[in-house]
């Protein structure tokens, strides 16, 4: 009964979203606050209806109601409660409902936003209503998560055990909140194209209304991607964290476009310029989100993450993508002439640096799009099959980013309108020198000697030091009494701190990624109980192996000690190989020893026999130097986004923002 209530709430939400579209559009056309207000009410009601539907789905999973096809296919009575709940977004149907949930909740928050002019708000709420109508209709008609099974099976088929992991349980909500949060910037961009005038006062104000949504979505997406990478790192047991897998790329493209959007929006907000770019990027970011949904759910890609879904649904998603993005970009092409103008600026200026940033980030996103889709296109066109993997991305994408990283610290140093390139270089000379020194130290400290990795360290250090130089410059550190600098430091806006943290966090990430990739040491050996594996400076001893029983699995649990070969305290860690009888799958549970910034990463392999016939196991050990920074960096960046969101300047004009973060 309660499940039927969920299905009803879902259909109700679809109808309410359609009403939201109709009423808001009518309110806009007739200039009727009553109609537009009713449209906003419908948006709120739609959000409530989807929240109720989701609550029903979660309760069906929590109670293991196997008469619901989705629960039967993805859950099992033996699963721990956390993973029963998380299974509600572990399947195609459930995650699509999560998508709709984020879209309608953000839509409801948009309807509550204060300070937007009547026409713009009515149009934006209407567009958002149109988007949620399409996706809710897709859910209702092709992917109903509440479909019943008759007769109900006694037991469920269980969730893929790889997905039974705390990081993965919370990764999809963050990722989707980020992905779909960009639907609001999309709607605001379309509304601005409808309402926008070529007057200089409109675009700065629009930039300020749009930016909090972009910031919130970007921060959530950053956390979502980092959690996903962390899951891949310690659950797959391959020692890596990013594989340039098509589905990873699908999440990275909106992130890059969203990053470009944030920077372009700054120029629009402060100087009224680049309005065309900002609108274009707002449309592009959510288009990439929808493209990602299509790639993951249509079965066109082979990936570890893809949902096995029939091509028919993929075709429908492609139709939604074509319709929404097609209309939006056609509107953009038509209205682009009104987007010109705004403050003029010299090539060397804050605006100029931000233009370069937008250029490189957009080119980076286009590169990833090309690398992800090219094998599909080539196969369709000529039948030839190729693979585009990490080496290709290292050759094409990485250089683009390195150039962008080299320019980055100079940007905030330049003044608006007309910057002083030589002055900026002088002020950054110390940071540049120290960064080169850091590269040299890295070259000397790490084995084997690698020039490229050392240069990478210099780039990471340059990002951090250059960003700190900019803060030191703002507070006039060492150019006056320290007390004055302290006072200035306290008076810096939260937005400034947000930018500083985001840029420094990027540097932290670069350092981690470069050192981990360049200097990781891998070793594997077949060892019996009491045997040892040596990786770099670490000695890992397999003390004993025991069979342990988990809630829904059985595991061979290896107890190991990790110690430095040159002495130091040994530490005990546990690594497991788990067997899940429900699905007949085996997973590895990595043993991680956190050593400062480094990880000692241990994977238990299959059981074997030594030549003497004793029991033995393949034990793989990685020494991943500075791996901590890879996940710390994005966390710092997301914190930067949060601080920027709290800036008083952005609080003007946007109400109920707390609701924007589900």
């Amino acid at each position: 009964m309660i499940v039927e209530f969920g299905a009803f709430a879902l259909i109700l939400a679809m109808s309410l979203s359609a009403l939201q579209l109709g009423l808001s559009a009518a309110g806009r056309i007739r200039h009727s606050p009553v109609l537009a207000g009713a449209g906003q009410g419908a948006a709120l009601a739609a959000a409530v209806a989807v929240v109720l539907a989701y609550a029903v789905l979660i309760s069906a999973f929590a109670q293991s109601d196997f008469s619901v096809a989705n629960v039967a296919a993805n859950s099992h009575t033996d699963k721990p409660m956390l993973y029963k709940v998380a299974a509600a977004w572990g399947s195609h149907e459930g995650s699509l409902l999560l998508w709709c949930l984020v879209m309608t909740v953000f839509g409801g928050a948009l309807a509550r936003a204060r300070g937007l002019p009547f026409n713009l708000k009515a149009s934006a709420v209407a567009v958002q209503g149109g988007l949620s109508t399409l996706f809710l209709a897709f859910a209702v008609f092709t992917s109903n998560p509440f479909a019943r099974l008759d007769p109900a099976p006694f037991q469920g088929a269980s969730l893929n055990p790889l997905l039974q992991d705390p990081a993965l349980a919370i990764h999809p909500p963050f990722l989707y909140a980020g992905y779909v949060g960009f639907s609001v910037t999309f709607s605001l961009a379309v509304a601005a194209l409808i309402e926008g005038r070529a007057q200089s006062s409109f675009w700065p104000a629009w930039g300020r209304w749009m930016r909090p949504w972009a910031l919130a979505s970007w921060g959530l997406l950053t956390v979502g991607i980092a959690l996903g990478a962390f899951w891949a790192y310690y659950e797959l047991g391959w020692g890596g964290w990013w594989f340039w897998d098509p589905v990873e790329n699908a999440s990275f493209m909106p992130w890059l476009a969203g990053t470009a959007l944030l920077h372009s929006a700054v120029v629009t907000e402060r100087r009224g310029a680049l309005a065309g770019w900002t609108v274009f990027l707002a449309l592009l970011t959510f288009t990439f989100s929808m493209l990602g949904a299509f790639l993951v759910r249509s079965g066109v890609l082979t990936s570890v993450h893809a949902f096995a879904v029939d091509p028919e649904r993929g075709l429908m998603l492609l139709a939604i993508l074509g319709l929404t993005a097609g209309l939006a970009f056609a509107l953009f092409a038509w209205r682009a002439p009104t987007l010109r103008g705004g403050g003029v600026f010299a090539p060397v200026s804050r605006e100029g640096a931000l233009v370069l940033n937008v250029l490189f980030l957009t080119a980076g996103a286009a590169t990833i799009l090309l690398g992800t889709l090219y094998p599909l296109i080539l196969e369709a066109a000529s039948g030839a099959t190729i693979s585009v993997g990490p080496p290709w991305f290292a050759i094409t994408f990485t250089p683009l980013m390195i150039v962008a990283f080299l320019i980055l610290p100079a940007g905030p140093m330049l003044a608006w309108k007309r910057g002083d390139a030589r002055g900026a270089m002088q002020r950054l000379a110390l940071a540049a020198g120290l960064a080169l020194l850091a590269g040299l130290i890295g070259w000397a400290a790490f084995e084997p000697k690698q020039v490229l990795s050392a240069l990478g360290i210099a780039v990471g250090a340059w990002l951090i030091l250059g960003t700190l130089t900019e803060i030191a410059d703002r507070v006039r550190l060492f150019r006056g009494p320290l007390g004055v600098s302290g006072r200035r430091l306290r008076k810096l806006s939260l937005g400034t701190w947000g930018m500083t943290l985001a840029h420094a966090g990027l540097g932290v990430f670069v350092l981690g990624a470069v050192v981990e990739t360049g200097y990781r040491v891998e070793a594997a050996a077949v060892v019996a109980e009491g045997g040892e594996v040596v990786a770099g400076p670490w000695r890992v001893r397999l003390n004993d192996v025991e069979m342990v029983e988990g809630p829904n699995y059985l595991a061979e649990q290896g107890r190991l000690t990790v110690e430095r070969r040159d002495g130091g305290a040994p530490r005990a860690i546990v690594a497991e190989r788990r067997f899940f009888p429900a699905g007949g799958q085996t997973t590895t549970e990595v043993g991680l020893d956190f050593r400062g910034l480094d990880d000692v990463y241990v994977v238990m392999g299959e059981r074997r026999a030594t030549p003497d016939g004793d029991r033995a196991w393949t034990v793989r050990v990685w020494w991943n130097p500075w791996a901590r920074l890879i996940f710390l960096g994005p966390a710092i960046m997301a914190l930067g986004a949060l601080l920027s969101l709290l800036d008083r300047r952005l609080r003007v004009g946007v109400g109920a923002r707390k609701k924007a973060v589900p």
Binding site: P117, G239, A306, G389, P390, P391, W392, L400
Partner: protein, 173 residues
């Protein structure tokens, strides 16, 4: 009883879940082994989903690793080994696609895009030179006077969100 049976089945499963490939035997020569490992990351496991043979636990990935090590030990160059793999499995096996007319767009597309965009920026910059005119002597004098009166210290980030524009009067706090 049922539980014991389950455990027995599961234990069997743990041992038999993957057809265990024979363990990897690293090459004795450290430099050859380094070369082999570098090659592994460029070669796709042909039965897996976007995994290199360096990462994949599949049996065939183990066979491919052994093949690569054998060829390196036999003194083959990296290029010959790649060619050999492509003969067996097709271009699909390489994570670095070959450069040929069909993949020119893939290889040179990103750089072309950046160059085109840069050219576009240069053209746009030429077409619209920044309108900066020097102040007249009279204006300079007024500016100096104003600065003296205001006694402001120019902050690099003092620009308000709306500098140079009509105020954002449409916003209600």
């Amino acid at each position: 009883m049922k539980r014991a049976l389950l455990i027995a089945v599961a234990a069997l499963g743990l041992m038999a879940a993957e057809p265990a490939a024979p363990p990897d035997r690293p090459l004795a020569d450290a430099r050859q082994e380094t070369r082999a490992r570098a090659l592994f990351t460029d070669i796709r496991c042909v039965v897996c989903q976007h995994e290199s043979i360096a990462d994949s636990p599949a049996g065939i990935a183990g066979d491919m690793r052994r093949l690569v090590r054998e060829e390196i030990a036999a003194g083959q160059s990296d290029a010959t080994i790649r060619e050999d793999l492509v003969r067996r499995y097709g271009d699909f096996v390489l994570f670095r696609p070959p450069v040929r007319p069909g993949t020119w767009l893939l290889w040179f597309g990103p750089l072309t895009l950046v160059l085109l965009a840069a050219a576009g920026l240069v053209v746009a910059g030429r077409r619209r030179p920044p309108e900066v005119t020097a102040l007249s002597a009279e204006e300079e004098g007024r500016l100096a006077e104003l600065l003296r009166e205001e006694a402001v210290c120019p902050d690099p980030d003092a620009s308000s969100p709306n500098d140079g524009h009509a105020d954002g009067s449409t916003i209600q706090a």
